[in-house]
Point group: D2
Chain length 129, copies 4
């Protein structure tokens, strides 16, 4: 039996999110995700900004401490961030595979890293504000 | 023969990122990722905050327009956000599967959504600042 | 009688924040600010990320609607953002006047805008990731 | 004669920003602010998310080091964040005094802190996601 890939797990999670939509019987009084969908985009978009900040804080703490607990916290915060982006994708009728395919497409284009690089080099040749 | 689609794209991308580390021969003059690693955590953590904001802006534009181009842009911004979190995970010696496993663990705990829900309900019973 | 300047009001607000510190008798059970101080930096830093996202969302809504209510909301979100940066400044023993003086110093250096400009031009001459 | 310090620096800065608008002769090839106005809201809104993240990173570094340089950096990052919110306010026809008046209004309403507090207490009585 093959173990599930990351992609399989993300797809399954996306299916769970889909089932939480109000149109599919999601109940805002019983499900956090159904509640997010019921409150509308600003509710989960705000969480994306908040969780991104928490990822940054956890990473800075890990920079300074390096202990196991700080690593676990970083994993948890990245999971929170990805989770809320999955909720957003679901709301807009998109799939995790749309994002993963885009990441794959970029990796396949050897030129892409070079483009990003040229931009970064150009930026640094200017002066920092 | 395993079809390509069964290969785990996130794992493969993580392996590419690993190969861009300076210790593994990554060249900051030729690779955007090697450059991020060379500049240190603040360089990619800053991008996480920036890309999260771009996800939010793309989503708001999609809310207001709903056209195909806005959908493509949202996919691209989420890909940028995930990409820079993958760089951060790599820097701290973590794998995409650490995050996906955490998402799976939470999904498996039926109680988790209820905990998040109780918190959200409690928050809303208070007053908004 | 001279009306209070923006600076005077920010200074007075900073004095109120100072009085909410636990060492100065602030009570976390009665004051939101005392509670933020008691919970420590991550509590108010997280709010800075969250409120910045809300400023962006309010601005995007104003772009698309332009009505008076959206303007009022943007003012309120910027006030929330500034408020939580004032809490952070207070925690680190800094004053609003430190920030305002820095803004004034930059304005006085005619060259500064040009430096930021050269950087922005350099960035755009590269390619966008 | 009014001493310079009584002049309102935020108002004066807002007037400078106003003069950088294209309609008022601002030149995107010579002014960073004129360039931001020319590129449109997403350009400066993105900076608000980016600078908020930099404030958080500078604060975390100050937490861990506490040295003078880290304090200076935090002041600079808050100045960057406020600066880009001033650009946004200007774009939407708003003044710094609109925000400061809102902050003053809240301070005057003794009840406001209590409302925010009840919300925070309610949130903590729930469970953290």
């Amino acid at each position: 039996m093959t173990p599930m890939s990351n992609q399989d797990i993300l797809d399954r999670l996306a299916a769970v999110l889909e089932s939480r939509k109000l149109a599919h019987g999601g109940d805002p009084d019983r499900s956090y995700v159904a509640r997010l969908f019921a409150r509308g985009p600003d509710a989960f978009l705000k969480k994306i900004g908040e969780e991104a900040t928490e990822v940054v804080m956890a990473a800075k703490d890990l920079d300074h401490s390096g202990d196991l607990q700080a690593r676990e916290r970083l994993i948890g915060e990245v999971a929170d961030l990805w989770f809320h982006t999955l909720v957003a994708l679901s709301h807009y009728g998109l799939q995790p595979s749309d994002v993963v395919a885009e990441l794959e497409r970029r990796e396949g284009q050897g030129g892409l890293e070079e483009k990003a690089l040229r931009k970064a080099q150009a930026r640094e040749s200017g002066q920092d504000r």
